[in-house]
Symmetry: C2
């Protein structure tokens, strides 16, 4: 039976074969650049794997795989512009390499190109598929807005944070899975389970990102430790820390995240030392493990042969393994 590597390779092949260049070059060159930057291609891989799990015809989801990744890269392109981020995957962002207007308009066009991919393949459940894609897109926008709102607030709760990362990150993984299953003609109850599987996987995935920012090995993780701390980002780590702190610790943490410390590297060291004091790491590890467990339980409930679940189990293990 298939394994996750089969689908990852398939996605690489699909992207290698696809042409993204067109006229005018000023519009499409940044799109081609963005879609060739790579990345893990998790969403199209999940879409293909979910389709395969329900015995779908692989040739019918090729375009949907391109569509979901094109949409994802559109959101990254506009997010990088809104965050004024100079780098993505070690390369200059479109905003930095070209300019703001290029990032706006090439991004808009990528959103429309994603739709072109989704519309290319006729399928009996087209309206369900497009509705799933579009409602996901709207939630991703809402998630990004909540993320920006939370930067300006000092009273964000963990529940609010989980709602935000569900919209910003988890729904697109869940949507990719559901869309793959819809193409395969899976029953509604099963597509919903797959969606919930994706939500918990997505939450675990994002919480792990939060964990790795504080505790990751730069060499393995590929990102510099403590960037969220430098950016005063209110991820799960500081939000949970606020609950565990005593009054004086809470004041120190609030000062750090209130931008009152000039030496950034010293700030990272001190915040991480405070996290040690309050034993924060096991707390977030527990939260991650809980989401992974929920994800596995939901996958267990799906009514298909056990062996057909192998690729998604492997994907979950791969994501879970990031922390090691």
């Amino acid at each position: 039976m298939y394994n996750i590597k089969y689908y990852l390779d398939k996605v690489s092949q699909i992207f290698a074969e696809e042409k993204f260049c067109a006229e005018p070059a000023e519009l499409y060159d940044p799109i081609d650049y963005t879609l060739r930057l790579g990345g893990k291609r998790i969403r199209p891989t999940l879409l293909l794997a979910a389709n395969g799990m329900f015995g779908g015809d692989e040739s019918l989801v090729r375009d949907a795989a391109l569509g979901i990744e094109t949409f994802h890269n559109f959101t990254l392109l506009h997010d990088d512009l809104m965050d004024r981020s100079p780098l993505r995957r070690g390369q200059p962002t479109v905003y930095a390499k070209w300019d703001e207007n290029t990032a706006i308009l090439s991004g808009d066009t990528m959103f429309a190109l994603a739709w072109r991919y989704f519309l290319r393949q006729p399928t009996p459940r087209l309206r369900d598929i497009l509705n799933c894609f579009n409602e996901t897109a709207i939630e991703v926008c809402e998630g990004q807005q909540y993320d920006m709102n939370f930067e300006r607030r000092s009273d964000v709760t963990i529940d609010e944070y989980m709602m935000m990362i569900r919209k910003k990150t988890a729904v697109l993984l869940a949507g990719a899975l559901k869309i793959g299953a819809l193409y395969a003609g899976a029953p509604d109850g099963e597509t919903e389970k797959l969606y919930r599987f994706g939500i918990h996987m997505g939450l675990a995935f994002q919480l792990q990102d939060d964990l790795l920012d504080g505790y990751g090995d730069t060499a393995v993780f590929g990102k510099k430790t403590g960037q969220d701390i430098r950016d005063n980002k209110k991820t799960y780590l500081p939000l949970r820390a606020m609950q565990l702190c005593n009054a004086s610790q809470r004041q120190r943490l609030a000062d750090f995240f209130g931008g009152k410390v000039d030496d950034e590297e010293e700030k990272v060291r001190q915040v991480l030392a405070l996290y040690e004091e309050i034993h924060l790491k096991p707390e977030i590890e527990k939260a991650i493990a809980e989401e992974f467990a929920k994800s596995i339980r939901t996958l267990d409930e799906i009514k298909v042969d056990e062996e057909k679940k192998t690729p998604l189990r492997e994907m979950l293990e791969t994501l879970n393994g990031r922390k090691k």
Copy 2:
């Protein structure tokens, strides 16, 4: 039989009844603001009128009318940001009233909301309709890119300019008409004629905008005369002027549009005086009349009862009447 006022009123009613507010307010308030700013609502009116011409059920195109106008307003929102325009319809633009990031993300969300409207109503020709909408959207993005490219070039031809305004302006009018007809189940040949009718109408409409910038009555037109000249915009007027000028006039015009004149009001006066010298006004009036004539001829060819064409004839006359 229906007249165009019937459809204009219908569109006003649809927008008055629709709710655009949702959570988070930071995302949806600018969307509600944009969609309530008004405007002429030409595109949804065309969509309804085309649907009515082919005997379509009006209740089935209500959402499509909302969708096409939401998309149009999304493009205006992002265009205003890219142009850094402070005002639209006499009111602050989203970019000016809120900020750049709000304009980016609320715009993205409006594009997705347009899709939500188009997906809301089941219809047998959904895929054709969505393809028409999406290919139109892609062309509008390409048109905006060409428009920005042309600002940096001094050798734009009239053919290139016509291609640009076809994409940036005409295809959305044409697409609105075609979509309305598709909902009514019109035959392919007729929807294509209607599309061509819309293209010529759109070109005439944009050329008239160019004319009015140079020769319009501010009190009637609602815009300040000569803004394109102040902005060095290479519209039909300067492009045609370049062809009519002698060598010394051409040099003067190139200097004006090369940003070499400091006193803006003096520049507007001198450019308009030069246009008088070379008898430019009848030239653009001829080009507009030709596009209107092509538009009328295409409408004549459409195989429906003459009286059913009344609303679209009235719309054409209204647009044509702008210059008087």
